[in-house]
Structure formats: structure tokens, C-alpha cells
Symmetry: C2
């Protein structure tokens, strides 16, 4: 950045809690943290040497960038108040599922900075390991957001709002649904006195493999081998042991088969 | 091992192809490799300095251990021929889904050595990163298999045939179904000119997280937040974009919600 670049962070949830300190550590000055609850604002503001507020009318008009990282429903209601603060500033939200057009008519300079990661409050985030997807109305702001994201991570991509919808739903499959497969496994093992930790090497290798092979080519197991005996024995086992899983098992096994290369 | 320990490897498929050279590298002598197809037997036998055969009647009667790693259907038909070779030897199969009792009445000393990993021929396997599950009829053979597996990996567990059924189905969820979630993500992204590589940081973090947090606690995303707006927008998007995924999306989102901690 050529000029000192100042930020007001709107929100103190999971994404904001990780993003604001990381930006602060990269030399961006976080002027202020806003949250509906003053305590949450204060906790985060302490980490970034910022002022805390829970009143929209106290938002500082001095910042170059207003970075809004709140729940999707809160976002809609906040925008008019936030954008009225400083007509020259850049307004950016961090939501995967919200189009950039949400700012339309409210500001002149706006965009999106979507860090695609699974954030838990309990866990440190290494932003070098996070893909950022950016979009802005003006090309100069796209460059600005790219520069900002690039100080955090080498993995910065431009994506339109349309593309971001698919990134978000793709992330639901690759992260949330994947994590749920782990949860189901933990549940099945736990019922039979088997430690979930024994699964970690398999989980790790499954993730490592797709760095080198396309997931379709990396697939193994009874569905991809079309091993009807095992599929049937698993179906029977689940029917008595965990009937809530039979339909999931059947659907996923069939869908795996729909992805097999044609013979 | 106090005495020189010799092995005949029955099978030259994915598991055998990785396991036999690893055992050979650990100092076990692989006397012979059997496969239905002589070429497959020869390819593997070359890697382990062994004799190759595709004829059951040529199986060496000299080995201490007959390690059978073939498809589950081939297993049943091979056992009588294999066990008749050497009545004193130990007979072991590597299949997750086949009970130890398959050897009953055919041999005196038998067991199972199940390496729980996703094996691709294209990819080296680091056995230090593989959980082994062992079971044997006799306690002395359990010790022997534990010693053998421990030369390959620090992660060796005892598991009964009953437990192994759940390990195997758990592995289908944690590995095969997980990999399919990656495949679905790759498909969705590919249709919108987004690189699957951008997802790898998220995939890696999702796997890393469950080393520290239980998968239930690690869960994030719209289903676990019960964010009906996003769930509904994803449903609509999939209905037009990928109708084959709508039911999977719905079922998994519901099942995630059934795993949420009670409020």
C-alpha cells in the first residue's frame, strides 16, 4: 500500500475474529470494531488495538475500508447505516453466498473478499493456507483487494458473484459434508469401542491424494469396484445398526457409480 | 523375530503390491508371489526378489506365513487350496469385510491383518501412516502379527471380526464418501471455470481440524447454523444446476442437524 490504509471491522464473529488480527499483523490499521454486543466488540478490539462500539451511529467515518463480516441476515439490515458513514470509502463483505450486488445503490465503491475456510473460534487459522476470492465493482478496487488479500495468502483468485455461489456450495460438499462423513465414522466406531484416532491416517491420506489425482481417479472402495456383495452386507448392517444411514449410504454409493469412467 | 520368517504372498492386487515390498524392506523374506495372472505375479515378485507363480499347485510349502490379499470373492475359492499346502503355517487375509471365521476348519493357525488405507497403484504408500488391525485365533499368533505389523507402522490395533465390520463401513464414510464429496465439488467448480486446486486448503484444514476437535464440534456451515435461507438457496441452485445432487444435499444437511448438540 502506498498510503496508510485504515479499516473499520463490522462484526466480531468467527471470520472477523480471525481476519482482523491477521490484517492488523500485516500492518493494516484497524480503527474500530463494531459488534451488536459490546463485549464481543471489545474482545476483538483488544486484539487489534482498536476502539470498540456496539452503536452504528458511532461508526468512524475515517476509514478507507469498511469490512463487513456478519451473518447473512444481519448483513442486509446493516448495509444502509454502514454505507452512509463515508461516501468515498470502499465497502466489502466476506460472505460466500451473498452477491456483490447487495451494495448496489448504497455505495459507489464496493466488493467482496471471501476467505474460503472453515473457521472455529477454538482454532488458529493460518491464512497462508486460505484461498481468497475477490470481486469489486471497479477495477482499481479489485487491484486494491487483491493487494490486501495477497498480504495474507498467496492463494488469491478473482471470482464473480455467480462463480462464488458454486464455490460456496462446493465448499459445503468438500468441507461440511466431508466433516459429517468423519462424524458418522466417529459415531459408528464409538459404538464398537474403536478409537476415532485410528481413522486419522486414512482421513489424511484421502485428503493428500487429491493433491495429485483427480478425486474421480482417486476413488476406491466397494461402490467404485461395484462390489455388490459388500454393498449389500453394508446395507444390511446399517439397517439394523444405524437405519438413519441406510439411505445416505445407498444414495452416495449410487452417485459414486454415476461418476465412474465409462468402460 | 527370533527365527527367519518367510512369507508366501497370495495376490498381486493393490494391497499386495504395496504390502509385499514393504514387508520385504523390513527384512521379511517373500519366498513366492502367487497371482491368477502370471504377469502380475512376476511384476510383484521382481520387486521382492521372489519366485512367481500362477498355479496353486506350485505354491511353496516352506513359508511360515501365507498372506492372502485377493478380492473377497476370489478369497473363498482359494482358501482350501492354500491351507492344504502347509498344515503348520499361519494363514492370514487382509480384507476388512471378511470375518476371521472364513478360515475355520481349514487351518489350525489363522488370522487377519487389515491395513486400513486407500491404496492406488499410482501412489506410494507410507505404511508408517497406516493403521493396522489384527486378529488371530491363537494368542501367540496375535503377538506374532502384532510384531509383524509393528515393523511397518506404529499404529497397530487389535480388533475382532465384529469390530472390523464397523471399521470397514466407517472407512467407507471417512474415505470413499469423503472422496466423493471432493469429486462432487470438483464437478461443480469445473462447470464454472473454477480450479479445484483452490479447494485444497479447505480440504486440508477440514482433515487437520479433526485431529484436535471431535468432528461434531468441528462442524461449520449452513446446516449446522440452521441457516434456512442459504439451505433453501442451495436447494434451488442444485435443482436447476445439478438435480442429481438435491437429494444428497437435503439428506446430509438434515443428518448434520440430527448430530447437533442439544440446546
Amino acid at each position: 500500500m502506498n498510503t496508510p490504509f485504515t479499516i473499520v471491522m463490522i462484526g466480531a464473529g468467527r471470520v472477523a475474529t480471525h481476519l482482523a488480527p491477521a490484517l492488523s499483523a500485516c500492518g493494516y490499521r484497524i480503527l474500530q470494531v463494531y459488534s451488536r454486543t459490546l463485549e464481543a466488540a471489545r474482545t476483538l478490539a483488544e486484539k487489534t488495538g482498536s476502539q470498540a462500539t456496539n452503536r452504528l451511529e458511532e461508526l468512524s467515518p475515517e476509514a478507507d475500508l469498511y469490512l463487513v463480516s456478519v451473518s447473512d441476515t444481519a448483513l442486509t439490515t446493516l448495509l444502509p447505516a454502514v454505507t452512509s458513514i463515508n461516501p468515498q470509502a470502499l465497502f466489502v463483505h466476506t460472505a460466500g453466498s451473498v452477491p456483490m450486488s447487495i451494495w448496489e445503490g448504497l455505495a459507489d465503491r464496493y466488493g467482496v473478499l471471501y476467505p474460503m475456510q472453515t473457521f472455529s473460534k477454538e482454532r488458529e487459522v493460518d491464512f497462508h493456507q486460505v484461498s481468497f476470492f475477490i470481486e469489486a465493482r471497479k477495477a482499481s478496487d479489485t487491484r486494491l483487494l487483491k493487494e490486501l488479500a495477497s498480504t495474507l495468502s498467496p492463494k488469491v483468485y478473482e471470482a464473480t458473484s455467480e462463480q462464488r455461489k458454486y464455490l460456496h456450495i462446493g465448499a459445503v460438499f468438500a468441507c461440511n459434508f466431508t466433516n459429517h462423513m468423519y462424524a458418522v465414522c466417529e459415531e459408528l466406531l464409538g459404538r464398537h469401542n474403536l478409537p476415532f484416532t485410528a481413522m486419522l491416517p486414512l482421513i489424511d491420506e484421502t485428503a493428500r491424494k487429491v493433491h495429485e489425482l483427480s478425486p474421480r481417479l482417486a476413488q476406491t472402495g466397494p461402490a467404485s469396484r461395484q462390489d455388490q456383495n459388500i454393498l449389500e452386507s453394508h446395507r444390511q448392517l446399517l439397517e439394523t445398526e444405524a437405519p438413519d444411514l441406510t439411505e445416505i449410504y445407498r444414495l452416495l454409493s449410487e452417485h459414486i457409480q454415476s461418476y465412474l469412467p465409462e468402460k
